[in-house]
Symmetry: C2
Subunit: 121 residues, 2 copies
Amino acid sequence: MPRAATTSDAFNAVAEPRRREILNYLALQERPVGDIVTALSMEQPSVSKHLRVLRDVGLVHVRRDGRQMFYRTNADALRPLHEWTGEFKRFWRQQLTQVKELAEAKTRRGETSPAPQEEER
Amino acid sequence: MPRAATTSDAFNAVAEPRRREILNYLALQERPVGDIVTALSMEQPSVSKHLRVLRDVGLVHVRRDGRQMFYRTNADALRPLHEWTGEFKRFWRQQLTQVKELAEAKTRRGETSPAPQEEER
DNA sequence: TTTACATATTCCTATATAGGAATATATTGG
DNA sequence: CCAATATATTCCTATATAGGAATATGTAAA
């Protein structure tokens, strides 16, 4: 069995970096295809094809105005992704807390703190 | 150009549903390969191959104990995904707020509230 | 060492790209 | 209707699977 189609779900669709760029660009406001082409320096057919994939999984909405097609990101379709990754939040939070507590405990004991494994953003 | 390798980054690696299942299963505690095979009803070579991909992108860590290999999810490698999707949070939050405010405003005016488009979790 | 157990890798195949080039479709203005 | 503009689709190709089957590798027990 080959890899699942990019149009099978949001997870597969956003695996492509250019599609993520497009979603970023279309998040703030709707834009015609031409704007995407110039803003992201991509070939027009390439943009159309990526938009097709994003549209098939509901990651963008479209509106026609004359001969232009205005696309905009449908942020809601990204929620499943955010929620799934969020399930793991407690694990990295836990790690951070443990590291922090360990460091603080050592500080209280006057020991030298080791270089942290993780970095808070 | 074909699709990027599944081992190119976490985004591509988690596009495969079985790999997400494996990550879910390995989140709470480390497990030997055999446990994954029985728990998720997958073929052993299949599990090994998925683990290989997950390992290549740092989504799991491994530890050998005798002839068993204990894998565990490295939640930290999922943070980029969570953070990227989180950028769009304000857009769906905004929608929710607007819907809610609209409903409340109508209620104050004694109008019938429409079925909500979105659902809070 | 020989055997058994646990896991990993190799081989094979059908399928799904992503990009480039060329072309088709849709809509507006003259 | 015809030309021009804006997008979409088709064709072609090299590459990367994911699963199944068979096999290889590594480690412990007898």
